[in-house]
């Protein structure tokens, strides 16, 4: 058992290893093989930080069509290039990398569901948490809650926000261990650690898969949530 911090060597440990269901794949293509046309995918990252470039590029290679992509931004150029995206759920569809999206949107070939960033990430978490929704006052009195049920509770009004269910989460981490435990690097954590808990199949591109195991107190995402790993290097 690898402990990276000294104070923790007295943590009582058993002799056996965890039998993880996390599988390590040699290539993105193999890890993505069962993502089919019409799938809904969550995609981590904030701008380029923590964006799973290799996985998205692998998906583009397979020319998967009719995707719904849930992410903070709309910069999935590799997917727009061949018209792979039917719908984007995001908080910020502008910026230099969103040109591809704005073009297909303009041609009526894709749909946008815009959501305040905090509501977006909480709806993602809610899906992972097995809850039916949450109540917020963010956006009340604005078009940002258009389409959401409104309810009164104890004299206050709230918008009911439903979970965003996806088939797969594609995320980027920094280090993984043999049990699928993850650590993110700096501000690349963002949506990744939330999406890691939010889809039934979680696929992770990771800079490095270490031999052995990470310190159980320093893990950002438990291997319990991680289904597939691909090591992509720095």
């Amino acid at each position: 058992m690898t402990y990276t911090e000294k104070g923790q060597i007295h943590c009582p440990t058993a002799t056996e290893d965890v039998m993880s269901k996390t599988r390590i794949y040699a290539t993105s293509t193999e890890a993505l093989a069962d993502i089919n046309d019409g799938a809904t995918i969550m995609c981590g990252g904030f701008g380029g930080a923590g964006y799973p470039h290799n996985l998205i590029s692998g998906l583009a290679d397979r020319k998967v069509k009719g995707l719904t992509v849930v992410a903070n931004n709309a910069g999935h150029e590799a997917l727009f290039a061949y018209g792979g995206v039917r719908k984007v759920v995001c908080s910020y569809p502008l910026g230099p990398t969103s040109k591809g999206f704005l073009e297909v949107l303009d041609r009526g070939e894709a749909e946008l569901e815009l959501e305040p960033q905090g509501t977006l990430v909480e709806r993602i978490r809610t899906a992972g948490a097995g809850l039916g929704g949450f109540l917020t006052q963010v956006g009340l009195g604005t078009e940002l809650v258009a389409g959401k049920p409104l309810i009164d509770l104890d004299g206050k009004q709230y918008a009911v926000c439903k979970p965003i269910m996806a088939d797969f989460a594609l995320i980027k981490a920094w280090k993984a261990d043999q049990a699928g435990n993850l650590i993110y690097r700096h501000a690349a954590r963002n949506f990744n650690s939330v999406m890691a808990m939010a889809a039934p199949i979680v696929i992770v591109e990771v800079s490095e898969i270490i031999d052995g195991y990470l310190d159980p107190d320093s893990i950002h995402t438990s291997g319990a949530f991680v289904d597939r790993l691909v090591e992509v290097g720095k």
Binding site: M1, H10, V18, R125, G130, M197, A224
Partner: protein
């Protein structure tokens, strides 16, 4: 059913072996507080990942004497260990895992299980105070709920019932019940017999009030 002489009822250890046989190696399992140690022993040292709702993924067996750490305990508050590859998580994340469908199996005890799969295992109907802990979340959230229990309560009544008299923990969740008499599955209008211990006859059980399907 007056005495046990005609039967070769399973010991708790044998019941545990039956459960362990039906469990897949890749599963993540939560083992309920208070289940007999001898029944759940076969689940350790065979590779499944054990989850403890107070925040351990990869729960290991009890520590060797002298290595107890008050900050490594299980949901029953007994001293525990973490296996290599395990992780500590906070309570909110632990219940995200439970409700979110990451738990392949919750193994629990029961006061009663109904033919509809209703589970009563947190409060006896006469009792004023009881603790619920994580039982309701586990019963609702786990992909499968299996029960390990004696078939009869102390007063002789069948724990497999048409309708639960005790307050429910969750409705319609139990998939399977492992007892010393055999293995049963709620099927809506009765319990289906999956396996019986040697010498146990279903019609005898029906006679004493166990609502089994007539074959």
């Amino acid at each position: 059913m007056k005495d046990g002489t005609d039967f070769n009822l399973w010991s708790m250890k044998e019941v545990g072996a039956k459960v362990a046989h039906d469990v897949q190696d890749s599963w993540m399992i939560n083992v309920g507080v208070g289940l007999p140690q001898v029944a759940v022993e076969p689940l350790t040292n065979r590779g499944v990942t054990l989850h403890s709702e107070n925040g351990i993924v990869g729960l290991g067996p009890s520590p060797a004497p002298g290595l107890e750490d008050p900050e490594v305990i299980d949901a029953g508050k007994g001293f525990a260990t973490i296996v290599a590859g395990g992780s500590f998580i906070d309570s909110a994340t632990s219940f995200v895992l439970i409700r979110g469908g990451r738990l392949d199996l919750a193994l629990m005890g029961a006061y009663e299980v109904s033919i509809a799969g209703d589970l009563a295992n947190w409060r006896l109907s006469g009792k004023k105070i009881a603790g619920i802990g994580g039982a309701a979340d586990l019963a609702h959230g786990a992909r499968r709920v299996w029960i390990i229990t004696s078939l009869f309560a102390n007063d002789g009544a069948s724990k497999l019932v048409a309708h639960c008299r005790h307050p429910l923990t969750a409705s319609g969740v139990v998939k399977r019940v492992y007892t010393e008499y055999g293995i049963f599955e709620p099927s809506g209008d009765a319990f289906t017999v999956i396996e019986l211990a040697r010498g146990v006859i279903a019609s005898d059980l029906i006679e004493v009030g166990v609502p089994l399907s007539k074959i």
